[in-house]
């Protein structure tokens, strides 16, 4: 009986002691990260494609907040995302920062052999298809990360400019504005 009490008490003491220590540590060591980083991460395409040269979208967001990278560093996001981020952070974008419209993958029907390589690579599940079936791209889901185009064995995937829609069109700068 006495040993049972010892065992129960000691484990209870260990458990509650460590619980308190961890609880205090969680408060004490809480990292007061820049809340803007999370907000920028939410605005980026979250494909973690690495075209910006940072480790994933979080790395890019960190660099943008710290001023090491321009909001235009994200090719999949394009001008729309860049403008949104710049507006959010109160930065002005340079004139020539981003002329290119965002591009998305387009599959050439005649050349696609249905190998599913692109389909398996796609980080945003924007490609549909099955073995030996013609694949297709969801324009809304494609982030233009270019991974599928690199791996396509027949070169059936090309990156083409997204046809302008109400959500992506940006008014061109008047020619005289400085």
């Amino acid at each position: 009986m006495e040993q049972m009490i010892t065992a129960v008490m000691s484990l209870a003491a260990i458990g509650s002691g460590l619980g308190v220590v961890l609880g205090v540590a969680a408060r004490r060591f809480a990292v007061e990260g820049d809340s803007r980083v999370e907000e920028i991460v939410a605005m980026l395409p979250a494909a973690n494609c690495g075209q910006c040269g940072f480790p994933g979208c979080e790395g890019a967001a960190q660099a943008i907040v710290e001023g090491e990278a321009s909001p235009t560093c994200c090719p999949p996001g394009g001008k729309v995302v860049a403008l949104a981020i710049a507006g959010h952070l109160g930065i002005t974008l340079g004139d020539d920062d981003m002329e290119e419209a965002p591009k998305i993958a387009v599959i050439e029907d005649a050349i696609c052999i249905g190998c599913t390589k692109c389909y398996r690579l796609c980080p945003s599940d924007a490609i549909v298809g099955a073995m030996k079936q013609l694949h297709g791209v969801f324009a809304e889901a494609c982030t233009g990360c270019n991974q599928c185009a690199e791996k396509c064995p027949t070169g059936a995937i090309t990156m083409q400019e997204l046809p302008a829609t109400a959500g992506t069109w940006v008014m061109p700068k008047p020619p005289m504005a400085a």
Partner: protein
């Protein structure tokens, strides 16, 4: 110094935690597709093993032995090791973000990995002193890292090799692992008996 070196070689190679004791096989198969991640996993495991060997020794000698509670060993080891690793992860995130970026994602994965739990249990079984316990933990981690990196290298090569269809993926990985284990059997006898 000679004893320490012999012990490290004995634990890391002759009694390798993965290939001879067959502990920690889940990360061995799971995180060995790329050399980079295998190395990160190895470093994190080494770190956690060293720490847990120390924590377990303290627990053993402060509580379990004096109160004759040996039957609570596994239970209490799991609690203490998991808590210590969590604590270190928090402290690391605060004080050294760079180190946290390297080890951070792996730390929660291995809080009570069987190898991490197994080494303190083996230490307790053979009633090692505190220094030797910590050294055993560290050397086991070094052995684990070595095997992880070797195996990841082999698997990277396997990706390029022509493997029969029925062996592709996990089967060929297991065949490779068993061949690697056979190779490690060759270390038996490297350290004279009684050296470890």
């Amino acid at each position: 110094m000679r004893d320490v070196l012999l012990a490290v070689i004995g634990i890391a190679l002759v009694n390798n935690v993965v290939l001879v004791r067959f502990l920690g096989l889940c990360p061995f198969m799971g995180v060995s597709k790329k050399i980079d991640s295998a190395f990160g996993m190895g470093l994190a495991t080494t770190f956690v093993m060293t720490l847990s060997a120390l924590a377990a020794w303290v627990l053993e000698h402060a509580l379990l032995l004096p109160f004759d509670l040996g039957y609570l060993r596994i239970l209490s080891y799991i609690v203490v090791i998991a808590a210590v690793v969590q604590f270190v992860e928090m402290a690391m995130r605060k004080s050294t973000p760079d180190l946290h970026r390297v080890l951070g994602i792996y730390l929660p994965l291995i809080t009570t990995n069987c190898a991490v739990l197994g080494i303190p249990l083996l230490n307790a079984q053979s009633a090692l002193g505190v220094g030797m316990s910590v050294l055993t933990g560290f050397a086991s981690g070094v052995g684990f890292t070595l095997v992880m990196v070797l195996f990841a290298g082999l698997r990277e090569r396997l990706q390029l090799a022509r493997v029969p269809d029925s062996f592709e993926g996990a089967p060929i990985a297991f065949v490779t692992a068993s061949l690697l284990a056979l190779a490690f059997m060759g270390f038996t006898g490297l350290v004279p008996a009684g050296g470890v």
